[in-house]
C-alpha cells in the first residue's frame, strides 16, 4: 500500500507538533510505502531540517504555509470572470445564515473545486485571492439580501482581514501536488489534522478519486474559536463559517474520521461528521520505560502523593495544596511531591505563587528537636537527582494526583497508569474516558472531595494495589503504540478494500486496456517479493525521489 501522509508543521520537521506520533506510525508500518506531503509552519522550522526518515518514506514534498510565491500569472478577462464567480459563491456560502444546511455546503464545495480547477489550469490564484476582485466579491456577498446579521455589519478592515485569512487558508490550492504522478500514485491520503492540512486530501479526492482518512487529535474548528478573540464580530463570524464549512466538507468526503477521544468525536459529530465514519483511535504512548516501575508496585512510599506535569494555572495546583492541607489533618505523615517545570512566564509566576502558598500553609517540620526540618511539600524538576525519567517521578509515590481544571487527553495520567499507580483525578477533558473506573475521579475545583479521595486511598493499601494493577492492564490494552498503529493499519486496509482507486491503463491509441492490471495488483503490500537473484547495482531500478528539497 502507498499512503500519502499529509502533515502541517509536524512530521518530517525536527520538533514539529505531533511529529513523534507520525514517526511511530511510519516506522511501525514498515511494510508499506509512505509519501509525506508536509506544510511547514514557519521559516525557523524549515531551517531546522528533518528528522531521519526510514526507508519506507518514498518521497517528501514540502510547501510553506507562511508565505506564498506569486507566480506572476495575470488573469485575462475570462479567467477573471470565472474567479470572481467562484469566489463570490464561496463568499455567499460564508455569509449565508448558519442554519441553512446542504445547499450551502454544496455551494461551498463547488466554489472550492472551481477555485482549485482554476489554480490547476491557469495558476495565478495567489495574486487573485489577494486582489481587489476578491475583496469586492466578499463585500457584495456581505451586502446581499439574506446575509447573516454579523456579515452585514462588516466594514472595510473586516473585509480585508477576512480576505487575507482566506487567501492564507487556500494556499494549498495553488500547489502542483494534484497530478497523476503526485498524489495520484497513492492508494489513500491520511491527513494528520483537519482544516487546511486536509485540504490537499480533499482536492486529491476531487481530482483523482483518492480516498481520504482524517485524524484529529485536537479539533481545528475548536482551536480556531479560541485563537482569535480580539477580532470584530464580522471577522469572527465569517472565519468561523469558513472553517466550519471546510470541516464539514472534509468530514463529508472522508472515508473515515478518527478522533483521538470522545471530546473530539463530539465536536466532529457536531460539525456534521457521519457517525458511521467515526472511529476513535486513542493516541499511543510508549509503555516500555514504565515497565520496570509498573512491575514493582512495592517500591512506592505509602505516605507520598505525587503530581507531575507542566506547571501552569490550568493545572490548579492551588486547589491541590488546599486539598493537601485537608489530607494532613487526617494523615499527618503524608508528603506531597510536585514534579515539573513551568511553561512560559505565566507558568513561572504561578509556580512562585504556589511555592509561597505551600510555605504559608505548611511550616517546615523535623523528626526531633535536633534534626533539620523540611517542608512536606517539595517542588522538583525532572532533571533533578534520582528523577531522570517520568517513570522515576511516579515510582516513589503511592498515589498520583491530577488536579487540572482544563485538560485535553491526559498524557500524564496514562503514564501513571502504565506505572500501575492508583490515581485520583478531576473530571475534566478525557480523564473519565481514559481512566474508565480504574482510578478515583472527583469534580474539578473541589479540594475537599479531592482530599477525601486521597485519604481513602492512603488508608487502604489493598485497594491501591487493585486499582493500580487494573489501571496498568487498561493502559496496556488501550493506550500503547501498538494498538494505535494496528488500528490505523486496519483502517487503511478497510479503506483500500472498500474504495480502491481505479486507474484504467490506456493503450497506445488511448483506449482502455482490459485485464492490464491483474487481480494480484490490488493485493495490499508487496505481492511480488524482490527477486533473490544477484542483480548488479546499475541494473537496479532506483526510484528518483521527487522531492522539492534535497534529502
Amino acid at each position: 500500500m502507498r499512503i500519502g501522509l499529509l502533515t502541517e508543521g509536524g512530521y518530517p520537521y525536527v520538533g514539529g507538533e505531533g511529529g513523534l506520533w507520525c514517526d511511530r506510525l511510519v516506522r511501525g508500518l514498515d511494510r508499506h510505502e509512505f509519501d509525506v506531503y508536509a506544510f511547514s509552519s514557519d521559516e525557523a522550522q524549515e531551517d531546522a531540517g528533518w528528522v531521519p526518515l526510514p526507508p519506507q518514506v518514498g518521497r517528501v514534498r514540502t510547501a510553506p504555509l507562511w508565505t506564498a510565491e506569486d507566480d506572476g500569472v495575470v488573469y485575462g478577462r475570462r479567467a477573471r470572470r470565472l474567479f470572481s464567480e467562484h469566489y463570490g459563491e464561496l463568499a455567499a456560502a460564508l455569509c449565508a445564515p448558519a442554519d441553512s444546511s446542504t445547499t450551502e455546503a454544496d455551494r461551498f464545495a463547488t466554489a472550492l473545486h472551481g477555485l482549485a480547477e482554476l489554480a490547476r489550469d491557469q495558476g495565478g490564484l495567489v495574486a487573485a485571492l489577494r486582489s481587489e476582485t476578491a475583496v469586492r466579491a466578499l463585500e457584495r456577498a456581505c451586502r446581499a439580501p439574506g446575509a447573516r446579521r454579523t456579515a452585514r455589519e462588516a466594514r472595510v478592515p473586516d473585509l480585508l482581514a477576512v480576505a487575507s485569512h482566506v487567501e492564507r487558508a487556500l494556499r494549498p490550492l495553488s500547489l502542483d501536488w494534484y497530478q497523476e504522478d503526485g498524489l495520484g500514485v497513492v492508494d489513500l491520503c491520511h491527513a494528520t489534522a483537519g482544516g487546511v492540512t486536509a485540504l490537499p486530501g480533499l482536492l486529491a479526492h476531487h481530482f483523482l478519486g483518492i480516498p481520504l482518512l482524517v485524524t484529529e487529535y485536537a479539533v481545528r474548528l475548536r482551536t480556531h474559536y479560541l485563537t482569535r478573540p480580539d477580532s470584530s464580530p464580522a471577522v469572527r463570524s465569517l472565519l468561523a463559517a469558513f472553517h466550519g464549512r471546510l470541516a464539514a466538507e472534509t468530514y463529508r468526503r472522508a472515508t473515515f474520521v478518527t478522533p483521538g477521544d470522545t471530546h473530539a468525536r463530539r465536536w466532529q459529530e457536531r460539525c456534521g461528521a457521519d457517525r458511521s465514519k467515526l472511529r476513535t483511535v486513542y493516541p499511543g504512548m510508549d509503555a516500555a520505560p514504565f515497565a520496570e516501575v509498573g512491575e514493582s508496585p512495592e517500591s512506592a512510599d505509602p505516605h507520598t502523593l505525587v503530581w507531575a506535569g507542566r506547571v501552569e494555572p490550568a493545572k490548579d495546583l492551588v486547589s491541590l495544596l488546599h486539598a493537601f492541607a485537608e489530607i494532613r489533618t487526617q494523615e499527618p505523615k503524608t508528603r506531597l511531591r510536585i514534579i515539573g517545570g513551568p511553561t512560559g512566564p505565566e507558568g513561572a509566576a504561578y509556580l512562585g505563587h504556589c511555592k509561597a502558598l505551600a510555605a504559608h500553609l505548611f511550616p517546615d517540620e523535623a523528626d526531633g528537636p535536633h534534626a533539620v526540618g523540611d517542608n512536606p511539600v517539595s517542588f522538583e524538576e525532572l532533571s533533578g537527582p534520582g528523577l531522570r525519567t517520568p517513570a522515576d517521578a511516579y515510582a516513589g509515590a503511592a498515589v498520583t494526583v491530577l488536579s487540572s481544571v482544563v485538560e485535553g487527553f491526559p498524557a500524564g495520567l496514562i503514564e501513571a497508569m502504565f506505572c500501575g499507580r492508583a490515581t485520583v483525578s478531576t473530571d475534566v477533558g478525557a480523564v473519565v474516558e481514559a481512566i474508565g473506573g480504574t482510578g478515583l475521579v472527583v469534580p474539578p475545583r473541589n479540594p475537599r472531595a479531592l482530599a477525601e479521595a486521597c485519604v481513602s486511598l492512603l488508608r487502604d493499601p489493598e485497594r491501591r494495589a487493585r486499582l493500580g494493577a487494573a489501571a496498568r492492564a487498561r493502559a496496556l490494552e488501550l493506550f500503547t503504540v501498538d494498538q494505535n498503529i494496528s488500528a490505523f493499519l486496519g483502517l487503511y486496509l478497510e479503506i483500500v478494500a472498500r474504495t480502491p482507486v481505479r486507474r484504467p491503463l490506456l493503450g497506445d491509441t488511448g483506449t482502455p486496456l482490459p485485464f492490464a492490471a491483474p487481480a494480484e495488483a490490488h493485493l495490499p503490500g508487496h505481492w511480488t517479493e524482490p527477486t533473490p537473484r544477484a542483480v548488479p547495482t546499475w541494473a537496479m531500478d532506483t526510484p528518483v525521489p521527487a522531492t522539492e528539497t534535497t534529502r
Binding site: 489577494r130 480585508l160 463530539r266
Partner: protein, 370 residues
C-alpha cells in the same frame, strides 16, 4: 422566608441564569453557539457539568446561553485600533540626510580643483548613495518585505545620471563634441548640472513626509469608511493632494537651489523626473512593483535612444536619424528630452496610481495584497 432562601430558590429553579451571569462577556460577544461551547470548555465545563444544568451536552447548554442573551441591540462599535503607525522622529528626520550630504558634496565640488575635485565627487556620490539607501530601508519610503525587490535601481540611477550630465552631453553632441570627459563644473564643453541633483536630494524629505501623510490618511479612512467605493472615493483626492504637495515642495526647493547657485536649472525636466521617481516609489511601497519597473526602464531607454540617434547620425548615410531630437532641441533646448520622457512616464504612473493606490486592498497593514 429569608432573603437568602429566596435567592437559593431562584438559583435552583434557573441554574443557567447563574452560569449566564458568570460567562456574560463570552455570551455577549459570541457569534454562534459553538463559540460559547468552545469558551465554556476552556473554562472546564464538561458534559457532566452540563448535565447539572439539565442539558445533554455542552453544545445544547451553549445553545441555550446563546439564545438567552439579548441580541436585538447592535453590538457596540469596535473601537478603532490604535495602531502606533506614527514613525519616530529620527525616522521622519532621516530623509533630510541625503539633501544635507548632497549640498556638502556640491559645495566641495565648487571649492576644489583638479584631482581633489574627483575625490570630492566620488566621496559625495558614495555618501549620498548610502544615505538614500538608509532612507529607502526605513520610514515611510521603505518597501515591505525585501524578498523580491525588482531591479529598478539601475534605471533610476540612469535617470538621475542623465539629469546630471545628459543635457550637457546632448548639447555637446549636437554641436560636434564632446571633446573630453566632464570636469565637474557647470561650464566648459560638457557641463555638469548639479542643481537638479541637489534639488532631488533635498526633495527626499518632502517625499517621505507626503508619502507618510497619504498612508496615514488612507489607514484612517480604511477604519472609518463603510464600503470599498466609499474608501476609493476618499482616497483619490488624498493621492492627488499628496502628489501636488510633493510637486509644490520640489518646485520650491528647485527655485531656492537655482537662486543660491545662480545657475539656470532645467526646471521642467527636474520636476518631471521628481514626479516620476516619487510615484514609482509610492507604488513600490504599496506593493505594486511591476508598473514602476516598466515605466522607469522605458524612460531610461527612451533617453538613451535619443542620445544614441544623435551620435549615430554622424555615420555616413544616417544623417536623418538625428532630425527629431535636433528639431526638439532647437525648439525647446536640450532639457526637452528628459522633460518629455519623464513627464509622459509620470503621467502614466499617475493614472495607474489613481486606479491602484485608491483600492482598499493596497492599504492592508502588514501585508500588501494587490
Amino acid at each position: 422566608m429569608t432573603d437568602l432562601d429566596e435567592r437559593n430558590r431562584t438559583g435552583a429553579a434557573d441554574p443557567v441564569k447563574a452560569l449566564l451571569h458568570r460567562h456574560n462577556d463570552l455570551c455577549l460577544r459570541a457569534v454562534d453557539p459553538l463559540e460559547i461551547a468552545a469558551g465554556l470548555e476552556a473554562h472546564g465545563i464538561t458534559d457532566r457539568t452540563a448535565a447539572r444544568f439539565r442539558h445533554r451536552d455542552v453544545f445544547s447548554l451553549a445553545e441555550e446561553l446563546y439564545a438567552r442573551v439579548p441580541r436585538d441591540d447592535p453590538p457596540p462599535p469596535t473601537p478603532p485600533r490604535t495602531e502606533n503607525s506614527r514613525p519616530s522622529t529620527p525616522t521622519l528626520l532621516l530623509p533630510l540626510l541625503p539633501g544635507a550630504l548632497c549640498a556638502a558634496a556640491v559645495l566641495a565640488l565648487h571649492r576644489t580643483h583638479g584631482e581633489n575635485r574627483l575625490y570630492a565627487a566620488a566621496t559625495g556620490i558614495l555618501a549620498v548613495a548610502l544615505a538614500l539607501r538608509a532612507v529607502l530601508r526605513r520610514g515611510p519610503l521603505s518597501a515591505p518585505g525585501h524578498r523580491h525587490r525588482p531591479a529598478t535601481t539601475p534605471w533610476a540611477c540612469w535617470l538621475i545620471g542623465y539629469a546630471l550630465l545628459g543635457d550637457g552631453l546632448l548639447h555637446a553632441a549636437i554641436t560636434g563634441g564632446p571633446d573630453g570627459l566632464p570636469d565637474g563644473t557647470d561650464h566648459g564643453h560638457w557641463p555638469l548640472a548639479a542643481a537638479p541633483a541637489l534639488a532631488l536630494a533635498l526633495a527626499c524629505a518632502p517625499a517621505a513626509w507626503t508619502a507618510h501623510l497619504f498612508t496615514a490618511h488612507a489607514r484612517r479612512r480604511l477604519v472609518s469608511s463603510r464600503g470599498l467605493e466609499d474608501f476609493s472615493a476618499s482616497a483619490r483626492p488624498a493621492l492627488f493632494g499628496a502628489f501636488a504637495l510633493f510637486l509644490g515642495a520640489l518646485a520650491a526647493v528647485l527655485g531656492m537651489v537655482s537662486a543660491v547657485f545662480d545657475e539656470p536649472s532645467a526646471f521642467a525636466g527636474t520636476l518631471a523626473l521628481g514626479a516620476l521617481v516619487f510615484l514609482a516609489r509610492l507604488l513600490t511601497v504599496h506593493g505594486f512593483t511591476h508598473a514602476p519597473k516598466v515605466m522607469l526602464s522605458v524612460t531610461a531607454i527612451a533617453q538613451a535612444t535619443a542620445l544614441a540617434t544623435v551620435f549615430a547620425a554622424r555615420l555616413p548615410g544616417l544623417g536623418a536619424l538625428s532630425t527629431p531630437v535636433e528639431t526638439l532641441t532647437t525648439a525647446w533646448g536640450p532639457a526637452a528630452v528628459p522633460t518629455l520622457t519623464c513627464g509622459a512616464a509620470a503621467l502614466v504612473l499617475l493614472i495607474h496610481a489613481s486606479r491602484t493606490l485608491t483600492r482598499a486592498s493596497a492599504h492592508l497593514p502588514g501585508e500588501h495584497p494587490r
